[in-house]
């Protein structure tokens, strides 16, 4: 527990650091939402000045940061000028959607990667082995953008899946079960894109880990006891390989969130990505900070989760911590 608490505290400090860093960076940026407004000849300099004073943009930097932190504590995260409302309420549904997408994709990718990688580890050199090597190589070499666009093409051509978005028209009027189905069909394409982009890496790591474990003496002992090969693989070798795989889970989150940003934007999934893009295009700086911090929070909590999993899986780490 101490270890976990320490990790969580470390994560919190990092989040604080990132918030200061990104706040200062964004504040030092030339121009702001009102500067863009000034391009409109109907808006006078005095109006812009008045607006700046009203939103506190004329105060010194530390004061603005503290005000922003205070609004963070209220769950507002500053004020979006483009939407004319606090950032918080805009952000939460986006965080939920991004979580829905990434958690589904991660779960699915691991569910596929574990058996596939374990099976691959048992293969000798041959067509299946070569096929998997080639397939993962091709998938690794496919840029995420091309994967996402290719899936969109599939959707547009065949009409099997909705091309983009998260809900259909009239979603609000549907009964509860229909709504779930609606979101699920919209999930298929973005989740597939994410799974295709992370699966090859996962499968390769699972294979390497399990192959290592299969060479260990305890596996030979288990085989000598006459334990069936499949049981040896799933109950003896796979848990022994768990440790680096859980670390990989934590490490792969950053890439997953980045890919998710791209996939969300390309497939207009209403997550953090499109909100961030919209905020950048509108030069709505507090709205830029929202998704950036939310993604940091997701990444850091994922890392703490991976740590907790590691403690569950590995008694050595658990004992060292207490």
């Amino acid at each position: 527990m101490v270890r976990l608490a320490r990790r969580a505290a470390h994560g919190f400090l990092l989040l604080l650091g990132v918030s200061i860093l990104s706040f200062v960076m964004v504040e030092l940026a030339p121009g702001d939402y009102f500067a863009e407004m000034r391009l409109d000849p109907r808006v006078s300099e005095a109006t812009v000045q008045a607006l700046r004073v009203r939103y506190g943009l004329d105060r010194p930097l530390p004061e603005r940061y503290l005000r922003w932190v205070a609004s963070l504590a209220r769950g507002e995260l500053g004020y979006s000028f483009a939407y004319g409302q606090p950032v918080g309420p805009l952000l939460w549904p986006r965080v939920r959607n991004t979580l829905l997408l990434t958690v589904t994709a991660t779960a699915l990718a691991w569910l596929l990667a574990l058996p596939l990688g374990a099976w691959w580890a048992t293969l000798r050199r041959g067509p299946a082995d070569a096929g998997l090597t080639g397939l993962t190589a091709v998938l690794l070499a496919l840029p995420d953008l091309v994967i996402a666009l290719g899936l969109l093409l599939l959707a547009v051509r065949t009409g099997w899946f909705p091309a983009g978005g998260m809900v259909s028209l009239g979603h609000e009027q549907m009964p509860w079960s229909e709504r779930v189905r609606d979101v699920a069909t919209h999930l298929v394409l973005p989740v597939t894109a994410l799974v295709l982009s992370i699966l090859p890496v996962l499968v390769r790591y699972v294979r390497a880990g399990v192959a290592d474990a299969l060479g260990a003496p305890f596996v030979r002992a288990a085989r000598a006891h006459g334990i069936p090969e499949r049981r040896v693989l799933l109950w003896h070798a796979l848990p022994a390989a768990a440790n680096p795989l859980i670390s990989l889970f934590g490490l792969s989150l950053a890439g997953l969130l980045s890919t998710s940003l791209l996939v969300e934007v390309v497939m207009s999934w209403p997550g953090l990505g499109p909100l961030l893009l919209e905020a950048i295009l509108a030069r709505d700086f507090y709205l830029v900070l929202g998704p950036v911090l939310a993604s940091t929070l997701l990444l850091l909590s994922g890392n703490v989760l991976a740590d907790a999993l590691l403690m569950v899986a590995d008694p050595r780490i658990r004992d060292e911590a207490t």
Binding site: V18, S22, I280, S295
Partner: protein
């Protein structure tokens, strides 16, 4: 392909692609911004060898494309063939015109990869776009590895407070998913930039955002290199820090830098393409593979005109080459460099 041949093959493919990008002015038949409004989304022009009377020509020729009816479908005007001219000069041979590898005489046009919405030649845009996309990735890699190497070496070699400060800030940078970080950095810069400025700023942003990963790896190598006995011996003989780093420590990091470069370059190319695709990078009319792919945001273009996918296919080819290169480097370097 044998393992031995993998490295030279991948390298040769990459060099060829970059040379083709550099030679775009000569290899491409047209200026990448030249519009032909009468032929939007024209399909790739077919090279022909056998004419309407069934005679064979050694020199390939093309038919002129004309629009048939209001539907926007194209058909070939078979009445007259236009031979392909090699080493063609712009502007009907006027002095000062550029020489192109191939072309056809007006009024016919040769679009080997079709045209886009403005009737611009896709092949010319692809080649000129490669100048932006490939070199943005390459320069950003050099920058990122350069900064990462410098900071990683300083942190690893001197240790102490410098190490703490540098590694703590590296953690800050790594706490953000890197595409989010990249977007945040991009948000800070002005939205509307000239293509030249945009290119430079993209290289700077992409290169500087990602210094932390190489820096950490380099630091690890330097930490172990610093304690090698021959380094300690050289230090005992009174070698200066600069000499030690240059002579004994830096060479140990080069293998790592090479494998990292092969991994990072395609990521950075994709970063430029992504930003330009979203309208945050190099903007029209200057081509980049990203803003060329942006036309696929319209579903009818996505589904109807396959030649608009060509930059995506080129991207896959580049990725494959870099991937093969990194695998080959990995094999050659052995397990110590990863």
């Amino acid at each position: 392909m044998s393992r031995r041949a993998a490295l030279p093959t991948a390298l040769a493919a990459l060099v060829a692609m970059h040379l083709a990008a550099l030679g775009a002015g000569f290899l491409a038949p047209y200026d990448p911004t030249e519009q032909n409004r009468s032929v939007p989304y024209a399909p790739p022009t077919r090279l022909r060898f056998v004419d309407a009377e069934g005679r064979f020509h050694l020199r390939p020729f093309v038919y002129r494309l004309v629009r048939s009816g209001a539907g926007g479908a194209y058909e070939e005007d078979r009445r007259q063939g236009h031979p392909v001219v090699f080493l063609a000069r712009d502007g009907a041979g006027a002095p000062g015109g550029r020489v192109h590898l191939f072309g056809v005489d007006e009024p016919a046009r040769i679009f080997l990869l079709g045209t886009d919405a403005f009737g611009r030649d896709q092949l010319s845009r692809l080649l000129h776009g490669a100048q932006i996309s490939l070199f943005a990735g390459l320069l950003a890699t050099v920058l990122s590895l350069g900064v990462g190497w410098l900071l990683g070496t300083l942190a690893g070699y001197y240790g102490g407070w410098l190490d703490s400060v540098l590694m703590r800030s590296a953690e800050l940078f790594l706490a953000l998913p890197w595409l989010y970080l990249l977007f945040a950095m991009r948000a800070v810069l002005p939205l509307h930039l000239s293509p030249g400025q945009a290119f430079l700023l993209l290289v700077l942003v992409i290169g500087l955002v990602d210094w932390a990963r190489p820096a950490r790896l380099v630091r690890g190598v330097v930490l172990s290199a610093r304690e090698r006995s021959y380094v300690l011996a050289a230090r005992g003989f009174g070698a200066s820090d600069l000499y030690l780093i240059r002579r004994h420590i830096a060479p140990q990091t080069f293998g790592l830098l090479l494998t990292q470069a092969a991994l990072l370059a395609p990521q950075y190319i994709l970063a430029e393409v992504t930003l330009s695709y979203l309208g945050l990078g190099v903007s029209e009319p200057v081509p980049s593979w990203g803003n060329m792919l942006a036309s696929l945001q319209h579903y009818h273009v996505l589904a109807s005109y396959w030649w608009m996918w060509v930059p995506g296919l080129a991207l896959v080819a580049v990725f494959l080459a870099y991937y093969a290169l990194s695998e080959a480097l990995h094999l050659r370097a052995g397990p110590t460099s990863s």
